[in-house]
């Protein structure tokens, strides 16, 4: 294990280098003086918690964001990037985490966007566009994606492949990949890694981020660890446990609070043979006091399952029972009002959960206005009382309950959402990737809150994109693949590796 060695070679400057990067969004500091350097001919992994600043760094290197302070160099030359085009001119191309494909254009149009083959008069040659795209995909060994299909009509994993492919065909000298594998299966990851090795062999520089340790270990030459918006160090070969300690500032075993064993098995939520858009033959039982994890690759039916259980998506077949009673869910309203009360805390609290410009108070009582109104008029006193109590119980830090929810920190926003459902007296909580983009201290707080909630007799169905989190925090974990439950893991067989292994295994029939 060697310590950081920026430009240690001395002869050649690093292919890409960043010094003292600072970037803030609103009041939140995403990067606080981060340094980074990667050399030509190496595969360099960036690791860190969600919100550690990896994505922001990649966006700055790719020219998509401009830093508040600090500088970026390509091949030793300092460059101020005003847009992706300038990065492209320096041979730096990025595969962004949030896909940047245009949904209502074809795969071919996306693949060659702004680099389309031109006909005699300078206009795009549509037939050649399609042919060129086909040939480019073929060259990369991609044969199952139809270049004439609309991006909207292909699967998420296929979109991720197209996103990668369209950058790779630009022959980048520096390839920046932000979580390129989040929805890829085993074979697809192997394909990508073959590509990356090929680039390395040709002396290119590849920088990538990933949450899966075994992937990082298998391909990265060097690893730079990020924490709280700055680099902690660059390493060549490091053990996972050590890396996690560096990433989180805590030891792995103290990050997660101990999970109390499950007492009596009282079923609270049961699904039998549930099928619908994106899911099929899903069945499970969630017990009182249990945290049941749901894991797997992105785009394999988790979102659909959670929405179906919450009534926000129609079930085509199967039954959902809460507290032994069969439910007929025509909308979230029915789920919220069902006997035990089902609640969904969605992944993207900003677009699906909170009303950012509205007051914390309004957000807290949104689901219970019926109960605190008389003749349709909201009873202000009762509302004030209830929101004050819940804010105290959850230790929501806000200047005032009339403060807009958008002004709160990520963790406190999450608490407001949980508070909404506690006020609604929901006993079955569906938590969907609630720790994403939340700092480590808040994460810890959320974990403890979850344990308190189940301890009080509630039950939690918990989807997370972080397998480590699932392995430590759940009594059992269901792994979904292609909309079905591919494996159900319980202790002692439960581990992050087992979850990932079950998730990426290819289906038996293609």
């Amino acid at each position: 294990m060697t310590e950081s060695e920026p430009a240690a070679g001395g002869v050649l400057p690093p292919a890409v280098e960043a010094t003292g990067l600072v970037k803030s969004f609103g009041g939140v500091r995403a990067l606080a003086g981060a340094d980074f350097a990667a050399a030509a001919g190496e595969v360099h992994a960036l690791v860190g918690e969600n919100g550690a600043g990896k994505s922001t760094l990649i966006k700055i290197l790719g020219g998509r964001l401009r830093p508040d302070a600090g500088s970026v160099r390509f091949g030793g030359e300092a460059i101020e990037l005003h847009g992706p085009d300038q990065a492209h001119l320096r041979g730096a191309w990025t595969v962004f985490q949030e896909l940047t494909l245009l949904p209502w254009m074809t795969v071919a149009e996306n693949l060659l966007l702004r680099h389309e083959p031109r006909g005699a008069l300078g206009f795009i040659h549509r037939r050649r566009l399609s042919r060129d795209a086909d040939a480019a995909l073929e060259r990369l060994g991609i044969r199952h994606i139809d270049p004439d299909a609309l991006v909207e009509d292909i699967a998420l994993a296929e979109r991720q492949i197209v996103e990668i492919a369209r950058v790779v065909i630009k022959n980048p000298d520096i390839l920046l990949l932000d979580e390129p594998t989040s929805s890829l299966g085993e074979h697809e990851v192997a394909w990508l890694f073959d590509l990356i090795r090929g680039l390395r062999a040709r002396g290119k520089c590849v920088v990538f981020t990933s949450h899966r340790w075994n992937e990082i270990a298998s391909i990265a030459d060097r690893i730079t660890i990020f924490r709280n918006g700055a680099d902690v160090g660059t390493y060549r070969g490091i053990e996972e446990s050590e890396a996690v300690t560096l990433m989180t500032g805590q030891r792995l075993d103290t990050l997660f609070p101990p999970l109390p064993p499950l007492a009596a098995a009282t079923p609270m939520l049961e699904a039998r043979d549930l099928a619908g858009q994106g899911i099929d033959e899903v069945g499970f039982t969630l017990h009182r006091g249990e945290i049941l994890g749901v894991g797997g690759l992105t785009g394999h039916g988790h979102r659909e399952l959670f929405l179906t259980l919450f009534g926000a998506q129609r079930a085509g077949r199967g039954t959902i029972r809460a507290g032994g009673k069969a439910l007929r869910l025509r909308g979230p309203r029915d789920a919220i009002r069902a006997g035990l009360g089902i609640a969904l805390v969605p992944e993207d609290r900003k677009t699906e959960g909170l009303l950012l410009p509205m007051a914390v108070r309004d957000n807290l009582t949104l689901a219970i206005l019926d109960r605190i109104s008389r003749l349709g008029v909201v009873r202000a006193g009762r509302e004030r009382e209830m929101t004050r109590q819940i804010a105290q119980a959850l230790q929501i830090k806000a200047p005032s309950l009339l403060h807009p929810a958008g002004g709160l920190s990520g963790g406190n926003q999450q608490k407001v959402l949980v508070g909404r459902w506690l006020l609604a007296e929901s006993r079955i909580l569906l938590l969907y990737d609630v720790t994403r983009g939340v700092d480590i201290a808040t994460k810890h707080e959320i974990y403890q809150l979850m344990l308190r909630l189940v301890d009080e007799g509630r039950a939690i169905l918990f989807y997370s994109s972080d397998a480590e989190e699932l392995a430590h925090l759940c009594h059992r974990v269901l792994v979904m693949r292609e909309g079905r439950i591919a494996a159900s893991l319980a202790r002692p067989a439960l581990s992050a590796e087992a979850i990932v292994a079950a998730a990426v295994r290819e289906p038996l029939v293609a």
Partner: protein, 326 residues
């Protein structure tokens, strides 16, 4: 939790009120300007006259506020209003004893047509622009067709005297119409500010998906809001016949543009979620004051139209700057 509120909270809470103040200040300035170019313009009588004209815009703007708050728009105002005016005179035949029935029928028609708009938006997923545009055509065709192009015998009837009095009668030195408008301002502000329905409206306007996932009946609320918009258009139609005595073709046309302008000037965000009816009412007042001043200056039609547009653009740019300062 700290007591009191931070600067940010104050800024946000203050913004709606500040825009209402802008609009009112603009109206006041316009009266001063009017007094300068045309002495006597700022007299009480003239103020009363301007506010009365503004009240009709203001009533339509109430409906428009409801739908704009959820990011919608109601383009069916002109012919719901016109249809309502004609329906009132033809069903009442100018007789006081038929008036209550005629008013109820007319309001129900407005609410019903608005409800159809809402059903189209909420259940058929037709964009608000399209469905309300189509509905305007439908109402135009029905109004023209059923009244034979306003040639029917009953079409020449006057508004029943009660209805005319409801507009004109002086109470404590002001026309009844202004009290009516004041009542509407109070009721609408109360509904938006203090009731569950109002809270749902703002929630949907801010974030439809999140509101749905919080168990709000988005569809029901949407249908109700469009119904309210239709209702207010019809109410404005009734009062306008009361004001002028008779119905005419095309009397609704100016109210589409003016109601949207009033809402925008009053600081209601066109994509929904923010703004108040007091703002829109102040917008209606300043808009009417502007027109009156321009008239007093003998500004020709075209000049008014141009200045109208420029004023809206200037205010938009002003508000836009405020927006980005946040």
């Amino acid at each position: 939790m700290a007591r009191g509120s931070s600067a940010l909270a104050r800024l946000r809470l203050g913004r709606d009120r500040r825009r209402t103040l802008y609009a009112l200040a603009a109206a006041a300035m316009l009266f001063v300007l009017g007094e300068i170019v045309h002495p006597g313009f700022a007299s009480l009588d003239s103020l009363e006259a301007v506010l009365t004209v503004a009240s009709f815009v203001g009533l339509v703007a109430a409906g428009q506020t409801f739908v704009v708050l959820i990011g919608g728009i109601d383009l069916s105002v002109p012919w719901i209003l016109n249809g309502a005016a004609i329906l009132l005179v033809t069903s009442s035949l100018g007789q006081n004893e038929r008036a209550p029935y005629a008013v109820a029928l007319t309001l129900a028609m407005g609410a019903g047509v608005g409800m159809l708009n809402g059903l189209g938006v909420a259940f058929l997923d037709v964009p608000a622009v399209v469905i309300t545009l189509a509905m305007n055509g439908i109402m135009e065709g029905l109004t023209l067709g059923l009244s034979g192009g306003l040639t029917c015998q009953a079409c020449a009837s006057y508004a029943p005297p009660i209805v005319q009095q409801a507009v004109h009668r002086q109470i404590l030195g002001a026309p009844a119409e202004l009290y009516l408008w004041l009542a509407v301002i109070i009721i609408v502000s109360f509904v938006l500010g203090r009731t569950r329905f109002g809270r749902h409206t703002y929630a949907i306007g801010n974030n439809l998906r999140a509101s749905y996932l919080a168990g709000i009946s988005v569809r029901f609320t949407t249908v109700m809001l469009y119904a309210l918009s239709g209702l207010f258009s019809a109410l404005a139609g009734i009062l306008l016949v009361g004001f002028g005595g008779q119905a005419s073709l095309g009397m609704g046309a100016p109210y589409l543009f003016q109601s949207i302008a009033a809402v925008v000037i009053g600081g209601v965000y066109i994509l929904g979620g923010r703004g108040s009816y007091i703002g829109a009412a102040a917008g209606a007042a300043s808009l009417t004051a502007l027109v009156s001043v321009l008239l007093a200056m003998n500004m020709p039609d075209y000049g008014r139209s141009i200045i109208y547009g420029v004023v809206i653009l200037v205010l938009l740019l002003l508000y836009g700057r405020e927006e980005s300062e946040r």
